[in-house]
Symmetry: C2
Subunit: 487 residues, 2 copies
């Protein structure tokens, strides 16, 4: 009985096991074949996609290429022999995976290319990516029958309100291909209409040192309604008294090249200012108060680092001026890329979602720029011949609600005495450092602009060269290092 | 025994079943828990994605919204009360899902908004989508240190070679924010350098009827080095003899507004032509030979329908002219959106991959446009008062390797006799049809331009209104339908 009972028990036990096992198989198979792909995929492997999958895969595969931390691969990079886009290396790095350091490479601190924010966007890859479907906004006209995304405009207003760097109420928002495109658009909008007036052309001016594009662009377009008239120094008295002359004054605040906050200097009813606030964000400057000038300029380049997207905007109080600017943008290009507008909407959404949190872009940016400014000062303070400009330290910032260390995006350097060297641009060039000559901004040759916003590699090479410069000064010679090859 | 043997057999059989079932359990569980998500996901549900997943999901969810075939939802559409972007309906359709037809809606055949290609891109969703990572091309500089994507330029050259509509060898390719941006860039590039010459300004001219933007943009920029001088008719003799005057002649071929192939009419060494070939693609015209003028214009808008991307390019033979155009693009906007360049690369890849296959974009486009032209002719031929222009039929096309029916993107209509009506724009407007008045292109009021490239809904409404017009003509009255409300 026991054995039989045992046998019978084991048989029952076996049957139970068999049934359980069969049921489990049935369940597993059912799960495998019947669960909806969307839901089944979501948790484990993130699928359930159809038409967007191919593009998403391609983007991730390309981004996964290893460039040794000194470069990156882009989807539209040059296709190599293996049929895939190759690494694009930071300056002074080379080789297929950017692992080779170019010996004695020349430092380039010329252009204010805002690559310092690239690590932020790599960290926020999921939130900042955008899928552009093939049929996205084919039309000339956006939602409102105009050329601008209504949602992007809303988000730009939200951003200014949240950061507190500009008053947007009572202002028109006008988009351009970078703030560059808006330079002439605003000169046009503020000039007399050529067909109605016989008045002399408006004089376009700026206080030296200024951003050279104001002069170059105004002279290139060379319109009959305005004329480049040089620095404000010549016109201060004229502008107060003359009623027949109109002046359009460019003011950058913080100023490019010296990062100091500035105000218009020309007075009188016939003077109009275009205040360029591209650097008026908390990573570059303290924000003493929201800006509220009649015509203000901002750009994605210095807000989020998206210089390549070519996106900027103007805040304009007067409706007639805004209409004339919009007419210019319509006639010159029927507005700006809707693809970029879609992307900038996503970028600004990420910025807004992280504002004042631990992933605040301005806190990130300020930390990077402050560290660079400290390190640059530490080296330059040892130079006997070239000095870095002074920037007031620890000023109160309304955005961070505390005093903050300086963190300029650009800065100027000058010789310590006229006796020593006269031209800091050339002195630095001899030391294998490219900067932006002061001559371009109608400052003297003594000034030169140093860009601090480039990639960390660029900044590290700059510091290396400056350290070498200080060292050679001590040895009493200002020669370049043995080799002058550059990447 | 038999029973015992049966029992023993059934027990063996049971054990076998149990073991098999357990092994299957193990295999299924192993498959469930151990298979790599990337591979496991690829076949069934398309997952294995990380950072690109969120954007891909959002794009697909938004695109899946039902707009009744009379609209579509965009990722940057205006957010409704439900927190999601709403349908953007075609003209004459409304309601939350675009299912409501607006009664007696006015037809709009004014703007050449190339929406007729939207269905093509919806059909090619997977190939044409692009993921733009948050860190994509932050820099001002693209691969070659310039502002243009090297790969996109290569693909544009490939496309012209494959289509056979332009000779690209020995030409420079210069990108602009749509061909619109290139109008003044090329006028600038072909004018004397203001700083070096005291010669009179170049005269910018075109043969009527011409695309009005040539005049409007030239007059708006109003540069000192050039001047709008009206139609070529006044200058034909002058241009042959005068050595001091320079002329810059705009020629569109096919011409906008009448879709006829054109050549420059001004002769002489001092005349330079900008030949606008935006419509010189096989969906709009036969291609008798590849174009080979010194300065040619093309645009994404009329190639692929991506008007909203604002992307165009010039093919320029002379290096100095190309350099001046590039200088203009650098100084005015530091090049054009890299986001759009990435997208256009993908779009052109899809076009190339399908060329001369059953999904050829030009075959698709030609089929749509030819059908519209036939239908339009069928209706208009019945009108006693307004006639459609004649376009030579069945011309040989080198691209399709056969004769093809006409399929113009734009066309003009005129009154059948001066006695009948004098102004076809207003005659059509009374019939609730908006067209593009000939006055803008310095043609007479008798001409008016009809756009055929808009959405199918737009075209259908246009035909409805024209049919009604022909009907009312028969009744001896040209009044509008009872209600004149428009969407």
């Amino acid at each position: 009985m026991e054995a039989g009972g045992g046998q019978s028990g084991s048989r029952r036990h076996g049957s139970l096991l068999l049934y359980s096992s069969l049921v489990l198989n049935a369940l597993l198979l059912a799960h495998h074949f019947l669960s909806p792909p969307q839901l089944g995929a979501a948790g484990v492997d993130g699928g359930g996609l159809s038409w967007a999958l191919q593009a998403a895969r391609e983007a991730e595969a390309v981004a996964a290429t290893d460039c040794s931390g000194h470069g990156r691969v882009f989807l539209d990079g040059i296709i190599g022999e293996d049929g895939r886009p190759g690494c694009e290396c930071n300056r002074c790095f080379g080789g297929p995976d950017c692992s080779l350091r170019t010996p004695n490479c020349t430092a380039d601190a010329d252009c204010a290319d805002p690559m310092f924010l690239e690590p932020y966007w790599m960290r926020h890859a999921a939130g900042s990516a955008v899928v552009v479907p093939g049929w996205h906004r084919l039309s000339y006209f956006a939602t409102d029958g105009q050329f601008q995304s209504v949602e992007l405009e809303k988000h730009i207003r939200r951003l200014h309100r949240a950061v507190g760097n500009a008053i947007v109420d009572g202002k028109h928002v006008v988009f351009g291909t970078g703030s560059m495109k808006l330079i002439n658009a605003l000169v046009y909008a503020l000039s007399q209409d050529g067909s109605t007036a016989a008045s002399p052309p408006a004089g376009v001016v700026a206080t030296a040192p200024y951003y050279p594009a104001y002069r170059r662009q105004t002279m290139m377009f060379d319109g009959r309604e305005y004329k480049w008239e040089g620095t404000t120094a010549r016109w201060v008295n004229v502008s107060r008294n003359a009623s027949s002359s109109t002046f359009i004054e460019f003011v950058a605040s913080p100023n490019n090249p010296d990062s100091l906050l500035r105000k218009p200097v020309l007075g009188g009813a016939s003077s109009k200012a275009i205040v360029d606030h591209t650097y008026y964000w908390p990573h570059f400057t303290h924000i003493p108060a929201p800006a509220d000038e009649d015509v203000m300029l901002f750009s994605a380049s210095k807000l989020s680092g998206h210089a390549g997207s070519r996106f900027g905007w103007a805040l304009i109080r007067d409706e007639t001026v805004a209409k004339r600017a919009n007419y210019y943008l319509q006639e010159s290009s029927l507005g700006e890329s809707r693809d970029t507008q879609l992307r900038m909407l996503r970028i600004i959404k990420v910025i807004l979602a992280n504002l004042r949190g631990k992933e605040d872009i301005f806190a990130f940016g300020h930390q990077v720029m402050r560290t660079r400014w400290r390190r640059l000062n530490a080296v330059m303070s040892k130079s006997r011949r070239i000095s870095l400009q002074k920037i007031p330290s620890h000023q109160y910032c309304n955005y961070f609600n505390r005093t903050r260390e300086p963190s300029p995006g650009v800065s100027t350097s000058t010789p310590r005495s006229k006796m020593c060297i006269r031209d800091s641009y050339n002195a630095l060039l001899k030391a294998n450092i490219i900067t932006h000559s002061g001559v371009g901004s109608e400052a003297s040759r003594r000034h030169t602009r140093v860009s601090l916003v480039k990639s960390q590699d660029d900044f590290d090479v700059l510091l290396e060269r400056l350290t070498h410069l200080v060292h050679t000064e001590k040895l009493g010679t200002l020669h370049a290092p043995s080799s002058t090859s550059s990447a």
